[in-house]
């Protein structure tokens, strides 16, 4: 075939792979074949250079980002020093807690290298909830599942820390009593 025509009639392999990529994200594991078609038209693909700020601590948060390729550093600033919280790579996502509840960002995010992020925002999700409630439902179920898992993990961590603190206080008071 003539390369010109094959170029014109070539299927958009990029978009195909976007749906394919979204299928690999655990957040969207509940979705079915047709849902990805809607999801694809819903998300925003953004390209970032290395070292670019995605959002700063205290910014109004309205959605989550999935890393398609590249890397992102999550950190907080305390007295001008950056405290690293996490380094995320392709397939990871962040900011999912502000997807359903409006809140300020609790940490900052900066790209480590040239990065492609896929943004999913509350406004689009609300639109989807009106048009295709079933799809929105499955996305929200996935988000809820992930958030609950993290909440449980955080609760366990708090309990563990508190026990450790109690033990430390007990041992220190034991020390002072001695």
């Amino acid at each position: 075939m003539n390369p010109l025509w094959s170029n014109i009639f070539r299927k958009k392999s990029e978009e195909d792979s976007l749906a394919y990529f979204l299928k690999t994200v655990p957040l969207f594991s509940d979705l079915k074949g047709r849902d990805f078609h809607y999801l694809e038209s819903l998300v925003h693909t953004r390209h970032y250079d290395a070292g670019e700020i995605v959002f700063e601590e205290g910014d109004p948060g309205s959605g989550m980002y999935v890393i398609r390729n590249g890397g992102v550093k999550i950190f907080t600033r305390s007295e001008k020093r950056e405290e690293e919280l996490a380094i995320l790579g392709a397939g990871d996502f962040f900011g999912e807690t502000t997807l359903t509840a409006p809140a300020s960002r609790a940490a900052s995010a900066r790209t480590l290298e040239s990065t492609e992020l896929i943004g999913l925002f509350r406004a689009d999700l609300l639109e989807l909830a009106q048009k295709y409630p079933a799809t929105a439902n499955r996305i929200l179920l996935g988000v809820t599942r992930i958030v609950s898992e993290r909440l449980q993990a955080a609760g366990q961590e708090i309990r563990r820390l508190r026990q450790a603190q109690d033990a430390a206080i007990a041992s220190s008071s034991f020390d002072t009593e001695m």
Binding site: H44, R46, Y48, E52, I53, V54, F55, G58, D59, P60, G61, S62, G63, F94, G95, T97, T98, A101, A103, S104, R105, A106, A107, G119, F121, R122, A123, L126, E127, Q130, K131, Y132, A134, A154
Partner: protein, 371 residues
């Protein structure tokens, strides 16, 4: 003086001339481009604004029909077909009486102005009897050319504006079809141009602003419809003619705050005064206009339900918007000017509120919500 030789002067002269020539060339080309752009877009702003308003009004209906099995394009066509059907039925049902009404109005309009003049003359005579020093002023002679000019203008302008409305009738549905179908995609494309750092904020703001705007526009349109209906029904209890026309006029004028309702009731009260005289029917008409339509229905029922007081404009801004709208697009511009000003105010308010909501130090809620 030695430091500047003749050649240096010459060079300076040439450089300055070149600079001035370049400046002039840039200026003329820019102004030519601007006039070209102005000419190209001259008739388009009004249909575009109207199409946006129609889009905001029809969007809920389109969304209501749209399903997984019914595509958006199909649902827009369904809504259009429904509106065409309703309009067709309304026209075939109402056209014969309306045409009759229009023909008799053309005959009646000079009669009403004549009646208005006799009313003014009587008023003048009464005033001059009581206040003799006023006889120096010839009130009738002052008002007559003005009112006659207005009536002549209406009679001349009606066919001309009908032509303009005809072109609007083609352009507005066409534009709003594409806005309805691709509005989301157009907005996405526009927002995707925003730099990364501000993208999320711009995306969120555009959503909030368009939501506020659509509730506002829908509210105003529904308000105007209900006021028109209330006035029509209220007037049809009396012997007054042109009740539907007066109701429609009052409804449309109700889109303009403060001044609109007053202008909306002028023709009705005038016609009542001339045709029916001051009597129980006349007072009923005044009651319908002021007490029922404006105070009870509009102020007590519609405005609290449909429109938040936040979008209230300062009277000065209302007057400025009416004058500027009138300058730009005539009578339609006067009607649209104030809602456009309100929309701009809503957008600014929403942006301000957004910034305030998130610049507050919420140290209590933050640790509970790790992002």
């Amino acid at each position: 003086m030695q430091s500047f030789s003749r050649t240096q002067y010459l060079l300076l002269f040439i450089a300055l001339t070149a600079a001035i020539a370049t400046g002039l060339a840039i200026f003329t080309s820019v102004s030519a481009t601007i006039t070209m752009v102005q000419m190209a877009t001259s008739g388009l702003v009004l249909p575009l604004i109207l199409a946006l308003i129609v889009t905001f009004v029809l969007d809920p209906a389109v969304k209501f029909i749209e399903r997984e099995t019914i595509s958006r394009t199909l649902s827009i066509f369904l809504v259009y077909a429904l509106i065409t059907l309703v309009l067709f039925i309304a026209v075939t049902w109402l056209f014969p009486p309306w045409r009759h009404m229009w023909a008799s109005l053309e005959y009646d309009l000079p009669r009403y102005t004549a009646g208005f003049f006799t009313f003014i003359r009587d008023l003048e005579a009464g005033l001059q009897q009581r206040l003799p020093f006023l006889s120096a002023y010839d009130l009738t002679a002052m008002i007559r050319p003005m009112a006659e000019g207005i009536v002549a203008e209406i009679l001349v302008q009606t066919p001309r504006s009908a032509l303009r409305i005809g072109s609007l009738l083609i352009l507005v549905p066409l534009f709003s079809f594409f806005f309805l179908r691709d509005g989301d995609r157009i907005m996405r494309a526009l927002i995707s141009l925003v730099p990364n750092r501000y993208f999320e904020m711009a995306h969120d703001l555009s959503f909030l602003v368009s939501r506020q705007m659509s509730t506002f526009i829908r509210g105003r349109i529904i308000e105007a419809l209900i006021i028109g209906l209330v006035v029509t029904i209220g007037l049809s209890f009396t012997d007054i003619r042109y009740a539907p026309l007066l109701g429609a006029f009052a409804g449309v004028m109700n889109l303009i705050p403060y001044i609109g309702p007053l202008i909306g009731m002028v023709p009705g009260i005038l016609i009542a005064l001339i045709d029916l005289g001051v009597g129980p029917q006349f007072w009923w008409i005044v009651t319908v206009y002021i007490l029922i339509a404006q105070v009870i229905v509009d102020n007590f029922i519609l405005i609290p339900i449909l429109i938040s007081r936040v979008s209230n404009l300062h009277p000065l801004i209302v007057i400025l918007a009416i004058i500027m709208g009138g300058r730009l697009y005539g009578v339609l511009g006067m009607i649209i000017g104030v809602p456009v000003a309100s929309i701009i105010k809503i957008a600014l308010l929403e942006i301000g509120q957004y910034r305030r909501a998130f610049s507050l130090p919420d140290s209590i809620s933050e640790p509970e919500r790790p992002g």
